[in-house]
Symmetry: C2
Subunit: 239 residues, 2 copies
Amino acid sequence: MSKNEQSELSSYTLPVIGVMHSPYGQKFAVPRQSGLVPDALSTIEFFAPYGDPQAFAGLQGFSHLHVIFMFHQIPEGPFRAQVRPPRLGGNQHVGVFATRSPFRPSRLGLSVVKLENLTVQHGLVCLQVSGADLVDGTPIIDVKPYIPFVDALPEAQGGFAAAPPELKQVIFTERAQEQLHSLGQREFKALREILAQDPRPAYKAEQEDPKRYYALLFGFNVGFCVSSDTVTVVEALKA
Amino acid sequence: MSKNEQSELSSYTLPVIGVMHSPYGQKFAVPRQSGLVPDALSTIEFFAPYGDPQAFAGLQGFSHLHVIFMFHQIPEGPFRAQVRPPRLGGNQHVGVFATRSPFRPSRLGLSVVKLENLTVQHGLVCLQVSGADLVDGTPIIDVKPYIPFVDALPEAQGGFAAAPPELKQVIFTERAQEQLHSLGQREFKALREILAQDPRPAYKAEQEDPKRYYALLFGFNVGFCVSSDTVTVVEALKA
């Protein structure tokens, strides 16, 4: 293929190398960026031939990874130049390339996760990671080591996303606590961190909101209500 | 499309949204990570419909961007689990997912660049950026704002790439200096930064190397020799 022919390609087809297994059973309540829920553990299962343990030799010297993935639940559609990010209350329009919104031409997501463990199952690698913000079943396109001298720019300016979102306190009814007794301590902590983000559509935060919401988390259908500064978990039913 | 059908997709086709115009006329002498040559300016030209100025509204509040691009000069081929990174002398094998090597299943690259300027030409956006490590003509798949509270992890551990490569001093013969008189001051500085990286194959650094190398940079065919700690630019011919 000549250089000219290459530069004229208007699209590229990329293989799926693995799949994410995460506590997030649906889009609702997935944290809005990576790192916001550090106690949530997820597992990337790699497919053959990509899961070859040799392909990961040397990775364990790195503490963090970039994960590139498909927002596969976002339907393909015509290009839309603007989105309304939840961070801005959901009613202000911003250019799609000024956001990490999934409604982008590539439908590619980019997250930083902490590498917790590498295991081999049936000859294929699984990476256990923490802090991911990927819905269960997300197709994985690439993983790359996070290189701090290249990737860490703490002095960078963060536009309208300059600071992490404020957190709410999370309380559990006695009933919910009992229903969740099978969760491990770290999972329970992660569940708190998830709900502390207030997963509701942002405009809901501006008014009295008596509604009970349900989110699929850790295999439970978790029902909760939100008041001004508190998320109350009312019940948690085995999903 | 049901959830099951979606998760069974084994590849995704992504549109090219733009093209990179950079000082790097060929792969040889492209810096080995972004940020290593901060004075090099590049321009991302966005295609219609993606270059719509509305799609970039709000971007200028961010100082840095992630750029996701295709290593389009790397031919497609069967999966190879290991590569020999230049950082390790080019003779040690490492798992491909423990590196940022272009020889990966996705052929996707990820770089962090500084946003310098946004202009609109014929109704389409061009982003001037600095610190990029993309060869001229690289197809762009996505740009995303760099969000420091998410992306900046200065405490992360960087494996075998824990520190930037050592730099060589760069000197110019009188002839080379004259031939390069049309370069602006910043371009000349960037040329120094590029050559200070020692662009030769890494194993060459281990022995006496009398060879003269040529690199296509800023439209010049730049001829240079390397001794133990110095790069000498011998000539620079208009390419």
